[in-house]
């Protein structure tokens, strides 16, 4: 459908040292980024981190103060939005309320002077693709949120943009619809092969849908990687903390064995950590483990597997979340820890007040940089 092959020698988007200020606010700070043709790329970050501003610079609504924006190899830094091969799905959809669904979707094609017959055909096809076929004659302000979202998508996609920009397109929908639309968006993207740049502050959404994710904070692009890498090997503390939940363990090294550090104090406790740069006894390090990597075993059933890191503690709370159950454990040495597992019979057997061993495979833990300043 799109003429991808012609452009494959250039990435769909290249940002080169892009900086944007609003008065004293540094909204986007020296962002350099390449997005490949056909990629589903997400920009993820907390509110106010500069995601929308970045997207608006791609669309042409903002001009960078420094740096350049390239679209399929062409410098478009100063090109007006109406002359760019990008289209946007706005957060509040911004359908034209005085037009029918059909005319909303046809808006871009009419501007391009596409013959009438072809417009009708393409609009109806596109409405089918996004799942609102038959709604063409409806007034745009008489649609449900989900329908509006689909029409907004159709209105943008019908122009066959080089890149589709989406600014938190699902944030106004209820959870159930959002989950469904996530899958649908992903499958539409795969079918059409269009490059998607997707802005969201929902980490689960970003991990679920994207080929690659870029994490932003305070205008800075911290890490760009595949979802699994982001989750399992976060580049820094912020990424680690922002994506998923994290147990942060502050530990004093008691023994060093080659490239591994060890905290050992009897058979109830033994914590391994990788020390690629080497380490010294007495160093205080911060170790991070995901809740789902933490196994709980009632203390009397613990068979003392020496390869697992483990510590003892008492279950203080059990939180049932439907498919998952979370456990808060107080460990004498490491403080509060959060563990999560599938809600099965074993999970049901664990009760508040129970003495447990918390264990994890050393490979699932990663070291956090910096001093152990703010222990939580």
């Amino acid at each position: 459908m799109s003429d991808v092959s012609r452009y494959t020698e250039h990435p769909a988007i290249r940002l080169d040292g892009v900086t944007k200020r609003f008065g004293a606010v540094l909204a986007v700070d020296d962002v350099t980024l390449k997005i490949e043709e056909g990629e589903f790329f997400s920009l993820l970050g907390p509110s106010g981190c500069g995601k929308t501003t970045t997207l608006r610079m791609l669309a042409g609504f903002e001009t960078p103060d420094e740096g350049s924006v390239y679209l399929r190899g062409e410098d478009v830094t100063l090109v007006q939005p109406n002359k760019r091969a990008t289209n946007m799905v706005f957060q509040n959809y911004e359908l034209f309320p005085h037009m029918t669904v059909f005319n909303n979707v046809a808006y871009g094609l009419k501007l391009k002077k596409v013959p009438k017959r072809e417009i009708t055909e393409r609009v109806n096809d596109m409405l089918e693709v996004v799942g609102v076929g038959g709604l063409g004659k409806r007034a745009a302000d008489q649609l449900s949120g989900g329908q509006q979202q689909r029409v907004a998508l159709a209105r943008a996609l019908i122009n066959r943009p080089a890149v589709l920009l989406l600014d938190e397109p699902l944030s106004a929908l209820d959870v159930k619809l959002r989950k469904r639309m996530q899958l649908e968006l992903k499958s539409i993207q795969e079918t059409l092969g269009t490059t998607f740049v997707y802005v969201t502050h929902d980490q689960e959404e970003a991990l679920l849908m994207s080929d690659r994710v870029g994490i932003m904070n305070e205008g800075v692009l911290l890490q760009v990687a595949a979802p699994r890498t982001i989750y399992e090997q976060p580049a820094d503390d912020f990424v680690a903390d922002f994506v998923g939940t994290l147990n942060e363990l502050t530990i004093r090294i008691e023994k060093v064995e080659g490239e591994r550090g060890l905290v050992a104090s009897g058979d109830q406790e033994r914590i391994w950590m990788d020390l690629p740069g080497g380490g010294t006894v007495g160093d205080i390090v911060r170790l991070a483990v995901r809740p789902e990597a933490l196994q709980l075993t009632p203390r009397r059933e613990w068979d003392g597997s020496p390869d697992l890191s483990h510590t003892s503690g008492t279950v203080s709370d059990v939180i049932y979340l439907g498919p998952f159950t979370q456990f808060l454990v107080n460990s004498e040495r490491l403080g509060r820890m959060l563990s999560q597992r599938v809600s099965d019979a074993e999970a049901a057997a664990i009760r508040p007040g129970m003495q447990v061993i918390v264990s994890w495979h050393p490979d699932t833990a990663f070291m956090l940089a910096g001093p152990a300043a703010d222990t939580r």
Binding site: N82, E94, F96, L111
Partner: protein
């Protein structure tokens, strides 16, 4: 400020009084009835007598007839004045519509705080008696050598109607979602095309409503026309002339025609501007 003397009418006292009225439906209905009669009695009398077949302006009615309407619609003086009034209304609506839209659009590009100030300034004429504007205009026209005419009066009407138009259009633009324009540009529209296909259709109802309001203000105006229209007499001026010669039954007919005109304009204006609000 907590110690209010017993005699001072406090808002609390008002509220209590109203609440008492509300508890006695007959009394409150009577009260409302009196107010309505007071408000509308002059109009009702005027409309009623315009259909009276006798020239005597007293009860009882001699009979129903349209003779006064026949008289005014064959009187070239009245007809000419009628045409002038309509022309003034159309011209006023036109001028204020364009200026109101442009002004309101312009004002939105200005920073928020300055915007409030400018809106306040432009609304200030609402508080100034029309008579002062009329005299000021007359003096100014004399100074710069503009003859008294219906056109001179038109400009005056535009002047007094503009604040209303400004407020109505401004309020509707305040609610306008400007990201819609970005959406249009994103789809390939130039600024002008986006304005024509998105902004204009969406604010047009409010602008039309404001124009109808301006037309009603123009038709209704006496003071400005009195000082600036000269020999180009509008309907209110003709009526004034006749009143000076004694109450004449044709006045009732002219008055009724004006009443229908201005109220229907105002009604349409109200409908337009509320529809524009979605």
């Amino acid at each position: 400020m907590t110690a209010t003397t017993a005699s001072a009418p406090s808002p609390g006292g008002w509220r209590r009084g109203l609440a008492k009225l509300r508890r006695r439906p007959v009394a409150s209905a009577g009260f409302v009835g009196v107010v309505i009669v007071y408000l509308f009695a002059p109009l009702i009398v005027m409309v009623a007598f315009s259909f009276n077949s006798s020239p005597r302006l007293s009860f009882p009615f001699a009979g129903l007839s349209l003779r006064w309407y026949e008289e005014i619609f064959t009187d070239t003086l009245v007809l000419r004045a009628f045409r002038r009034s309509l022309q003034a209304a159309v011209v006023t609506a036109g001028i204020t519509g364009v200026l109101g839209l442009l002004g309101a659009l312009g004002i939105l590009k200005i920073a928020k705080r300055a915007r409030g100030f400018i809106l306040a300034i432009s609304a200030a004429p609402l508080a100034v008696p029309g008579l002062l504007f009329a005299i000021g205009l007359a003096i100014m026209y004399r100074q710069i050598g503009i003859e008294r005419s219906i056109w001179a009066a038109n400009l005056g009407h535009a002047l007094i109607a503009l604040p209303f138009v400004f407020l109505v259009v401004g309020a509707s633009l305040e609610r306008f979602r400007f990201t819609l324009i970005e959406a249009a540009q994103d789809l390939g529209a130039s600024r002008w095309h986006a304005f024509r296909t998105v902004t204009l259709p969406l604010v047009l109802p409010a602008v039309l409503g404001a124009m109808l309001l301006a037309a009603a203000i123009s038709i209704d105006d006496f003071v400005i026309a009195f000082f600036t229209a000269g020999q180009d007499k509008t309907l209110p001026l003709i009526m004034y002339g006749r009143v000076l010669k004694g109450i004449d039954p044709t006045l009732n007919a002219i008055g009724t025609v004006m009443l229908v005109l201005t109220t229907s304009l105002a009604f349409m204006a109200a409908r337009r501007t509320t529809i524009g609000e979605r």
